[in-house]
């Protein structure tokens, strides 16, 4: 192992080390203050973020990990995103007093897993990354088990995620059986001859589809979104989804283009079902978090519209969409966190009545993020949809594009409903006075990014451009 490899490994090692350090601190005889712990955790995350900048691109760590611009951007994004999740957690009243060391370290481990996942060039490392991401989440969902549905959510996610992981693993095993290797680059060389490989990748697709909540593997999402503490829901909705998605893109578009082509009809179908099911279920939803879960299903459908185009435009669109979706969701959940009551989330939309008028910055931030989710120009959400639908049309998938467009119009209905509630005249009792600075910071940054990336999408696209 060269020293360069060590530098390359730093972003993966640092969060994991951070997690261990915090765990060690927790068995420290003297009581360590939460402030110190959180500072430590944030420091490790920021160090990890800095470490990605040291990467020599393109690079690789053995044959397990590949280091390119995509992995750099996303790793950086995950580190900062995890920091944002921590900030949200500090401002989240229901669990503020339960922020033990384990909570922070679990987030750090999950971050490490996400970083691993986006750079994996090998199915085993991908599996490890996936599980490093998933297992901490089981615990985080059920954090503070006395909350409504916390345990149930944890169990559901644990069982179903393991179930999906079994499919994923079976796919991995079959891929190995058909090709004799777990290295994606090598698998690509035998892709044309290995007859079992498409089946194997389909099984992997099922596993990933579960993680990103594509219909018909989406049913856990609303329950878990509702059950998890809002910062963790934000982690689900933005970071975890983006990580898994990027792996899917790497798997299909970058490494196994032949399989991608074979899978296009399947992707087409999933895209269609996801959009329709997601939007229909969100349409009359009264629970905001569930609504966002379903809307995420629909968004993943739009991303698959881009992927099912099967061209480079589709790939770029999907990557752009993944980033922007994560940012927008982060922004929305930051507001949900900020608006939370002392002991529990505001569940029903009616609980949000008039809050936007009372807290204009939060209200406008949420409004912008929601409109971005709906796909209104000049936000990033619009550009993402433009690229995605453009790719579909370029590939000739006009019907899919039209269905997507109609779904977009449908989606406006429920996003507008939320905004309407937020700015309606009658107010619900406010509950807590909002003093948390963390969520405010996150929402402002998200707002700036959403509009900035919408007006200047080439910031991101330019970075992804292969040299």
């Amino acid at each position: 192992m060269h020293s360069a490899d060590l530098i390359n490994l730093l972003p993966y090692l640092l969060p994991a080390t951070g997690g261990l350090v915090i765990l060690i601190l927790s068995i420290w005889p003297k009581r360590v203050s939460t402030r110190f712990l959180s500072t430590t955790a944030l420091t490790f995350l920021l160090l990890g973020a800095t470490a990605t900048l040291l990467w020599q691109v393109p690079g690789a760590v053995g044959s397990l990990l590949v280091i390119d611009e995509i992995s750099r951007i996303f790793t950086l994004f995950f580190m900062l995103g995890a920091a944002a999740i921590m900030l949200l957690s500090f401002g989240y009243a229901p669990i503020r007093n339960e922020l033990h060391e384990e909570y922070l370290s679990l987030i750090l481990f999950a971050t490490s897993g996400m970083a691993l996942l986006v750079s994996s060039n090998n199915l085993v490392s991908a599996f490890v990354g996936l599980e490093m991401l998933a297992v901490p989440l089981y615990a985080l969902i059920a954090w503070q088990p006395t909350r409504y549905g916390a345990i149930e959510g944890g169990i559901k996610y644990a069982v179903l995620a393991s179930f999906a992981a079994a499919f994923f693993l079976y796919g991995v095993a079959l891929a190995y059986a058909s090709g004799g290797t777990l290295d994606l680059a090598e698998l690509n060389t035998i892709a044309s001859s290995a007859s079992l490989l498409p089946v194997a990748i389909t099984l992997i697709l099922i596993g990933i589809g579960f993680k990103v909540a594509l219909a018909p593997f989406h049913m856990w999402a609303p329950d878990i979104y509702q059950a998890a503490p809002s910062p963790i829901t934000a982690l689900f909705a933005s970071l975890s989804k983006a990580a898994t998605l990027v792996f899917l893109i790497r798997l299909l578009c970058l490494q196994l283009p032949l399989i991608w082509e074979a899978l296009l009809p399947l992707l087409w179908g999933i895209a269609l079902i996801s959009m329709i099911v997601g939007n229909l279920l969100a349409l009359h939803q009264q629970n905001l978090k569930r609504l966002l879960a379903y809307s995420s299903v629909a968004h993943l459908g739009y991303i698959l519209v881009a992927l099912s185009a099967g061209n480079s435009a589709g790939r770029d669109a999907a990557i752009y969409y993944a980033v922007t979706l994560a940012i927008m969701n982060l922004g929305v959940f930051a507001v949900i966190v900020a608006f939370t009551r002392r002991d529990q989330d505001r569940e029903n939309l009616t609980d949000y009545r008039g809050l936007g008028r009372r807290y204009p910055v939060l209200g406008i931030g949420m409004g912008i993020c929601l409109l971005a989710l709906a796909g209104l120009p000049p936000t990033a959400g619009f550009m993402a949809k433009l690229f995605a639908f453009g790719a579909a049309i370029e590939a000739g998938n006009v019907i899919l594009a039209i269905v997507a467009v109609i779904n977009t119009a449908l989606a406006f209905f429920y996003y507008l409903r939320v905004i309407g509630v937020l700015f309606s005249e009658e107010e619900t009792a406010v509950g807590t006075s909002l003093t948390a600075q963390g969520p405010l910071m996150v929402i402002i940054i998200a707002m700036i990014l959403v509009i900035g990336l919408g007006i200047f999408p080439q910031w991101l696209l330019g970075l992804l451009e292969p040299p």
Partner: protein, 645 residues
């Protein structure tokens, strides 16, 4: 003089603008004076135009390019030829007199600002109409006078009768206007030109006589003229329009605005000459309207409505002349009619005002103290209207029309109608005169009129008597100034041979006297208090005695009633009401049926479907873990099945 032409419509327009913008700062009396000054200024400019030789050489002025579309650039321009000169003189002259008259007549009104604003605006619009050198500008004036008519008929807007009458007038004339607009479109699409001189030259050059396009175009123009001039079948608005103040009726609904149709046809006569069928139709409409109006006037009890029907009937004479190709004679009758009809309205207004706004002629007759001046001037006007030979202007103009009608196609028939109308005219006007001024009460009043009212009455009375002398009948020695002067522009009328002409003139000269006699008989029977056989006529207020019933023949009575009852009430009013009701019902149906039931329902159907789909999908999400796993597995099976299949 050319560059001052704009002052003719410009001064009243300026007056109306000043009244509208600064009227709040002025006292009531000053507003009236200001309006009069504006009208006087317009009249003065017209006089100057006469002096400047407009009578021999047409004047022209172009203000600016109004519209610029491609290579079509109609100008905002005026043309003052002889036809326009006569019209301008009448409009500004009678307009000035009516303004003067209004100073006293309307002195008690509170809302003088509105009155004079619209009166001045009307003057501007009417002058614009006759001065316009292109059809677009003419149409502007055409609509502007319609608007002022609407506003002034509904001057006492608190009374729904008035505002309804105004609206009715506006809408009915607008129907005609739309026909005119379509005619303009047709001409425009054919010649790509709306300037009158160019248009008429082009039409004469490109269209053959009797061509279908010419017929259609003239029919459409005729539609506009019929609407504005209250001819059959669009005459229904004029009697109702009497709800407005009397000076307004005198100016707009007798002297000027209603003759705009006559002016329009005279102005576009080269087109009509290309379409003989339309031209004959013009004559026929005129002849029918003469009898219609005169017979309907016979049955009226409202003082002003008698005059309104009389106006309808008299404009029929002008149409008849137009239809016979005697444009100059139509214009001649237009001129004399403007004088004597304005006179009749103004004196009637004075009488009505003196009797506290009483319109019923019988009651007026019983009141009996009418201003003597009004009585004598009314008599002068009535004589002129009836066409008392030699001494009145009406005789000369009407006689010429009767004579020229004989030589038209189906001339004797037209002549019979016109002559019969003349007889009826004499009957109804003298009947009214006798009832009102020789009623039960003796005329003892010495009520004198203020100068602003008496001076216009005297001037108009004078004109009603003498204005005919400029053109003595065909075959008579003496001045023949009118027709030859117009020959260049409007051509000459044709007359039958001299013997027939003399015969016709003799009959025409006798008719007023016969009518007068019949009226006397009529009144005597009435005085004898002969009971009326038909009660419903009484209810309707048709005050006819038994003598009338017996001698002047039931058929006429029936015809008059029929004309009023069937044609007007049933056919036209009825059809209008039907159409209006039908449209309203259809619109309501659209609102209920299409807007709510179809569009709204289809939207709510869609929403309901979406909600149903939501519920359906939502129920699958029952929270049971195994169900979730099952769905995942089913999905997996389908995906793998894709490969097997």
């Amino acid at each position: 003089m050319n560059q001052w032409l704009w002052l003719i419509p410009g001064t009243p327009l300026l007056g109306s603008l000043v009244i509208a913008l600064l009227g709040g700062l002025l006292r009531r009396e000053h507003i009236a004076v200001l309006a009069c000054l504006a009208a006087a200024a317009a009249f003065l400019v017209v006089l100057l135009a006469w002096l400047a030789g407009a009578a021999s050489q047409p004047l022209q002025q172009t203000l600016y390019t109004w519209v610029a579309v491609g290579d079509w650039r109609p100008m905002f321009g005026f043309m003052l030829d002889r036809l326009a000169l006569v019209m301008v003189s009448i409009v500004s002259g009678v307009g000035l007199l009516v303004h003067l008259y209004s100073v006293s007549f309307m002195a008690e009104e509170t809302d003088q600002r509105r009155y004079y604003f619209f009166l001045n605006l009307f003057l501007a619009g009417m002058l614009l109409l006759v001065l316009a050198d292109n059809l677009l500008l003419l149409y502007l004036g055409w609509e502007l006078v319609g608007l002022c008519s609407y506003a002034l008929i509904g001057f006492w807007y608190r009374d729904p009768v008035c505002s309804n009458a105004g609206r009715k007038a506006f809408i009915v004339t607008r129907i005609g206007d739309t026909a005119l607009a379509l005619g303009i479109f047709l001409l425009f699409s054919q010649f790509h030109e709306l300037s009158l001189s160019a248009l008429l030259t082009d039409a004469a050059a490109q269209w053959e006589k009797g061509s279908a396009l010419a017929t259609v175009a003239t029919l459409l123009i005729l539609g506009g003229a019929v609407g504005k001039s209250a001819q059959l079948p669009l005459q229904v608005w004029l009697p109702d329009a009497m709800a407005g103040p009397s000076p307004v009726s005198a100016l707009m609904h007798a002297a000027t605005m209603v003759t705009a149709g006559v002016y329009l046809i005279a102005r576009t006569h080269p087109l009509f000459e290309l379409a003989p069928q339309t031209q004959w139709l013009v004559a026929a409409i005129g002849a029918l309207t003469i009898v219609y109006g005169a017979s309907a006037a016979l049955a009226q009890i409202d003082f002003k409505k008698v005059l309104a029907y009389s106006t309808i009937s008299q404009i029929g004479y002008m149409f008849l002349a137009l239809g016979c190709g005697a444009y100059a004679l139509a214009l001649f009758h237009l001129t004399t009619h403007a004088f004597f009809k304005a006179l009749l309205f103004l004196s009637a207004g004075a009488v009505i005002q003196a009797s506290r706004d009483e319109h019923d002629i019988n009651k007026l007759g019983k009141i009996g103290h009418h201003p003597p001046l009004a009585r004598w001037t009314f008599l002068a006007g009535a004589a002129s209207l009836a066409g008392v030979p030699v001494v009145t202007a009406g005789f000369y103009s009407k006689d010429a029309i009767l004579a020229t009608a004989w030589s038209a196609p189906a001339g004797p028939l037209l002549w019979t109608f016109a002559a019969f109308g003349a007889l009826l005219t004499a009957i109804y006007i003298f009947r009214v005169y006798l009832i009102v001024f020789h009623g039960a009460a003796p005329q003892t009043s010495t009520l004198s009129l203020p100068y602003p009212m008496s001076v216009p009455l005297l001037i108009l009375a004078l004109l009603s008597i003498i204005s005919g002398f400029i053109e003595l009948p065909e075959g008579w020695p003496g001045p023949h100034l009118w027709s030859p002067w117009f020959e260049e522009e409007l051509g000459l009328a044709t007359f039958p041979s001299l013997t027939i002409t003399y015969m016709l003139q003799l009959i025409a000269a006798l008719l007023p006297f016969i009518g007068m006699g019949l009226a006397c008989v009529l009144i005597r029977r009435e005085r004898a208090n002969q009971p009326l056989p038909l009660a419903n006529f009484l209810r309707c207020g048709w005050n006819f005695d038994a003598f009338y019933q017996a001698t002047l023949a039931r058929p006429y009575y029936a015809l008059a009633r029929g004309l009023r009852g069937i044609v007007e009430t049933l056919l036209i009013e009825g059809a209008l009401t039907r159409i209006t009701c039908g449209l309203l019902a259809f619109a309501t149906f659209c609102r209920k049926g299409v807007e709510y039931n179809v569009l709204e329902v289809s939207i709510s159907r869609l929403v309901a479907t979406l909600r149903f789909a939501y519920t359906l999908l939502g129920t699958t999400q029952n929270g049971v873990l195994s169900r979730y796993a099952l769905v995942i597995s089913t999905g997996a099976v389908f995906f793998l099945g894709y490969w097997l299949w």
